[in-house]
Assembly symmetry: C2
Homo-oligomer: 336 residues x 2
């Protein structure tokens, strides 16, 4: 493509829109679903219950340590499907581009989406591109909507959480949030912190074999671990008690958070799951999780109790117990 920036005419629906689709998206995302160039994609769905989930990504900066908005836009929706207990299959992608975005950025983002989709085993089956005037958006916003299928015997609704269940996180907390903040503020650390942005379908695959022993799963993105635990407590009507020193936090993240007065338990993650397990096979499930690279540092961080219903308690490193509240106000805007 000879034009080096995105123009309004690329969103016209006419000739230049077609060229953009042909020369970038069809080229990078090539698959048989996109081929017919219809207004929609005909899906080839296997047996199972169908799940739909949607997310828009407005992160700034577009490129950050450990990923970019393209990779993030695939991981975010794939991980929501995994959290529902579904095998991720199909994604739609809808781009809102600010006039003037360098074409090289768009190509890099499209390639990143293609690579991450391949890695996650999903196909980008249908899309839409809009272009708005300079100043009416900030670079590019991406929506992905995902379709997946839940296998027989899988039910990850929070209502299934029982007292005595164990709470697991699949790895360190806060990496994504801190990496973005550091990049925005121009902070650098002796140990660089990368976003944990990753597709987590392999966690879903491991857990599927354990059927009803997996009670519930949720990805702690915006609002972080603390907010997800509060959602689970509220939606299940149970209490959750976690132990601060059992929660894995990358030492560089812990140090930076200390310095900045931030709390890693409220920072977004884009490659982690919170998993509630029945106690019976929890040790075995944890060991299986730890065998996959994206969950090597999985750890039990607490347990479910009958009381205090709907609340989350945390035992601090000093041995005190306090309520761990939901995120109030804004923490780090445009983190995903």
């Amino acid at each position: 493509m000879k034009i080096d920036r995105v123009l309004l005419a690329h969103g016209s629906g006419g000739l230049m829109s077609q060229q953009l689709v042909e020369e970038i998206f069809k080229k990078e995302w090539n698959n048989s679903y996109l081929e017919p160039m219809l207004d929609g994609a005909l899906l080839d769905l296997p047996a199972g219950r169908v799940v739909m989930t949607t997310d828009s990504f407005v992160i700034t900066p577009l490129f950050f340590p450990g990923g970019d908005i393209g990779k993030l836009s695939i991981c975010g929706t794939v991980n929501d499907l995994v959290a529902c207990g579904a095998k991720p299959l199909f994604l739609s992608t809808a781009l809102i581009i600010e006039e003037g975005l360098p074409m090289s950025d768009l190509i890099q983002i499209a390639q990143s989406m293609a690579r991450t989709a391949r890695e996650a085993g999903v196909q980008l089956v249908t899309g839409d591109t809009k272009v708005v005037e300079k100043g009416s958006a900030d670079g590019i916003f991406i929506n992905t909507t995902g379709i997946g299928v839940i296998a027989e015997g899988i039910d990850y609704r929070p209502q299934r959480i029982q007292p005595g269940d164990l709470v697991v996180v699949s790895g360190t907390m806060g990496d994504h949030g801190l990496a973005i903040m550091a990049r925005r503020e121009g902070l650098s650390f002796s140990t660089p912190v990368n976003s944990d942005c990753a597709p987590l379908f392999r966690i879903g695959q491991v857990l599927e074999a354990f059927g009803g022993n997996v009670r519930c799963m949720r990805d702690p993105t915006r609002g972080g671990l603390a907010t997800v635990l509060n959602e689970l407590a509220r939606q299940s009507g149970r209490g959750i008690k976690v132990v601060e020193e059992d929660i894995p936090v990358n030492p560089a993240v812990a140090g930076a958070c200390d310095m900045l007065g931030m709390d890693p338990l409220y920072m977004a993650n884009e490659g982690k799951m919170v998993i509630v397990l029945a106690p019976e096979r929890a040790a075995e499930i944890l060991a299986e999780l730890q065998k996959i690279d994206i969950a090597a540092e999985a750890a039990i961080i607490g347990e479910v109790r009958a009381e205090p219903a709907g609340l989350v308690l945390i035992e601090t490193e000093l041995g005190a117990e306090r309520i761990l509240g939901i995120l109030e106000g804004e923490h780090v805007p445009r983190i995903c």
Copy 2:
């Protein structure tokens, strides 16, 4: 809700995000799918082939004669499903809101989405809300992604178009584009022009009964009738010949377009279909279409020929024949 404008914290994923969802979206869009408040919705799909389509809406102004961005966001995706031959069933909705949007605007848009979804028989099953800083978006952008099911015997791929087929439009061309342009430019006409924005599922219902006699359908949105005809000609490898004086155009639109030097054949429609019919039952199908209010002015505007393959010809009102090209460059930005 006591806060009268959308704040960044409404997009935090924390407490204020929950409040926004509970007090506006769950209230307005109330249905059993939204109830569990999970990251995704479990769909109850009937038998049939499943279609997925996505569109983002970035129209300005947000409120316009004949509709608003909320109504448009439902119609656009419903109509894409109808054009694929599908019965529209489920929509996801993802909002990107500019900080400072009046809460009353958001509520009005949410209500408009709910009303239009009810009218179209679709359910809003899952959603996402992001808020970006003032100046990083323009009011609100809405993505909707739709799922529908195609009945046995329905196949509207353009490859099915044959020489001798007739080309029908379901009503007047250019109303939406002109209404938006007039509103933006502060133009007023003696006869007010409204957007034709409407969900077209009833056109789908009427056509379904005629099976293979309906070859193909497409909604002429961005790029207008001329662009859609060119897509159909190119994708089918056929020629299309239309007669200018047979194309219905609202007289007020024709007059305003004359004055402004615009061509209604390139202007966006949001409540119209282009339908290609086998000649055998075309008159009967046209009569059935004209019985429904949204297609009362449906008309045959041309026919399919073997040659010139991939091109569209128009017989002008003066009797000359010329090539009707695809939209080049930008016509009216942010029309949908």
